[in-house]
Symmetry: C2
C-alpha cells in the first residue's frame, strides 16, 4: 500500500484531516510521567492510545528524539512501533542532501525506521529530492512556504516567474512522476493557498501552524482542500501534547484533538 493510499484510508476511516505532531519536549512533559523509566515513551504511548482514532497521520519530529542522545533512537523506534499500522507516519526531519548522502537518509528513515513519509528541504534542487522520491510507495513533503516570519527572507523572494515558493511548487509537480510528492505549507500563509492549490491540484499539503502560531483554519480548509475535499494534513503538536500538565494529560489531549478534528470537519462541510 502506498503512502497516499494509506493516508486516504486513515482519513476516511477516522473522518479526519488532523495530523498530530509528536514533539516530546523534556521541559514540557507532564509531572505524572517523570518517574517512569522512559518518560518520553510512556508519554507518547498514552498520547497515541488516546488519539489514534481521531487522526489521519502522526508526525514525529526527529529533533526531539535526537536531543535525547543515545536513548533517542530506541525511543523513536518504540514510539513508531506503538502507532497502529493503519495510521501513516511522517517523520519530520527536513533533510536535504545529494547522492549517496540522500540515499543514506532515505534508508535511515524509510527502511530502518519504516516511516511512510518524510519532510525534505528543496534548497539544493532536484538531485537532493530525487533519491527520496525514488521510494515510490513513500511520501515526500517538500518545504514550500513555511509558517514562520523567516519565510520572507528567501521563500517569498520574487523571481521573474513569481515568488520562490511557487517555483518550488512547480518543480514538485514536475518531479512528481510517481505521485508521491507533497508540499509543506504553513497555516499562517492562508493567502497563498488558492494559488498553490491551483498549481498543484493533486498534491497533499502538510499544514503546520494552526495552533500556537495562529493560522486561519477556516481559510486553510476552504482554499486548501483538493477536488475530493481532502489532500490536507492539518498538523497540531503542542496544543494537543501539552493540553494538560496533570495526570489527565491523555484525556485532555484527546479532547483537544477531538475539538480540532471537529472544527476541521465543520469547515469542510460549509
Amino acid at each position: 500500500m502506498t503512502f497516499q493510499e494509506k493516508l486516504r484510508a486513515a482519513a476516511t476511516q477516522n473522518q479526519s484531516l488532523l495530523c498530530v505532531g509528536l514533539d516530546p519536549d523534556q521541559a514540557q512533559l507532564p509531572a505524572a510521567v517523570r518517574d517512569q523509566d522512559n518518560p518520553t515513551l510512556h508519554f507518547l504511548k498514552h498520547l497515541i492510545d488516546a488519539t489514534a482514532d481521531l487522526v489521519c497521520a502522526y508526525k514525529p519530529n526527529f529533533a526531539f528524539f535526537g536531543a535525547l542522545g543515545e536513548r533517542g533512537w530506541p525511543t523513536l523506534k518504540a514510539t513508531l512501533e506503538h502507532i497502529p499500522p493503519s495510521i501513516p507516519v511522517i517523520i519530520d526531519a527536513k533533510v536535504g542532501d545529494i547522492g549517496n548522502t540522500a540515499e543514506h537518509y532515505a534508508r535511515m528513515f524509510f527502511e530502518v525506521l519504516g516511516a511512510d513519509a518524510l519532510t525534505v528541504n528543496p534548497y539544493m534542487g532536484r538531485d537532493a529530492v530525487a533519491p527520496f522520491l525514488a521510494y515510490r510507495d513513500k511520501g515526500v513533503f517538500l518545504l514550500c512556504l513555511t509558517s514562520n516570519k523567516g519565510a520572507e527572507d528567501f521563500e517569498q523572494q520574487q523571481l521573474a516567474e513569481g515568488p520562490l515558493y511557487l517555483r518550488v511548487a512547480r518543480k514538485a509537480c514536475e518531479w512528481n512522476t510517481a505521485g508521491n510528492c507533497g508540499l509543506v505549507v504553513g497555516a499562517t500563509q492562508a493567502g497563498a493557498f488558492t494559488e498553490l492549490r491551483q498549481l498543484a491540484p493533486d498534491l497533499p499539503f502538510l499544514v503546520p501552524g494552526v495552533g500556537a502560531q495562529g493560522g486561519d483554519l477556516e481559510a486553510v480548509v476552504r482554499k486548501g482542500t483538493d477536488t475530493l475535499g481532502g489532500g490536507l494534513l492539518i498538523n497540531a503538536s503542542r496544543a494537543i501534547l501539552y493540553a494538560s500538565g496533570g495526570v489527565d494529560f491523555a484525556e485532555a489531549a484527546r479532547r483537544t484533538a477531538q475539538q480540532l478534528r471537529q472544527q476541521i470537519e465543520a469547515c469542510r462541510t460549509t
Copy 2:
C-alpha cells in the same frame, strides 16, 4: 575557545586547509575491517589516527551514522571521542527548522554530541538559523551555493538583486553578529568564489566537491582564501576514506590526504 579560534589553531599547527569528511558507507568499507565487532568505528579510528596531523577539521556526515540504526549514535559518539581535542569537528546534517525544534537540534549536535560546528540549510530564513548562531562559540555553515547540478533549480535563480545564493551570503553577513557564521560553497562553482569572497571577506567557506565531483582546486584556493590566506576548509571524503580497499586503507588514506594537503599549500603560495 571558539570554533573560529580552534579552526585557525588547527590550520596553523597542521599547515592545512584540508577537512576530511567522515562518510562511512557500509558498501565501501575495506574487507579488512568487516570482521571487527564494529567495523565502522574500527575503520574511522584508524583513519583519524592516520590523518589527524594533516587536517584542519573533520566533518562527520550524520546520514551515514543514522543509517546504521541503533548502532549509529554510539558509533558517532565514539568516533567524535577519538578525534584529538585540538581538531574541530563540523557535523554535516544540513538541518533547518524553527524555534523549539531548532533549539533541540542545536542541543543534540552542540551539547549532547559536543560538535564545534554544524551545517544548516537556510531555506526557512532567519528564525531557522538564529537558534544555532546563538551558540556564539560554535560555528554555523549555511548552505549557500552547492556543488551539485540541482544548484540551478533554486540556488542560482535570479532575484532583482542577483542570484538567490548571493542573497543567502548577504543575509549570512547580516546575521553574523557573533562572528560564528560560515558558508558552504561547492568547488565546482569556481566562477562564484571571487564575488562571494568580496561579499563575505571574513566568513570561512566550507568547500566540498574537489575530489569525485571534479572541482577546480587551484581556482578555489586562489579566489576563495581570505585576506589572511585562510578562511577555507577544502573537504574531501570518499577520495581519502576509500583510497584503498585493502589492508593498507589507513596508509593509503594518509598518502592521499598528504597529497591533497600539499596541492592546496602549493596553490596558496603561488
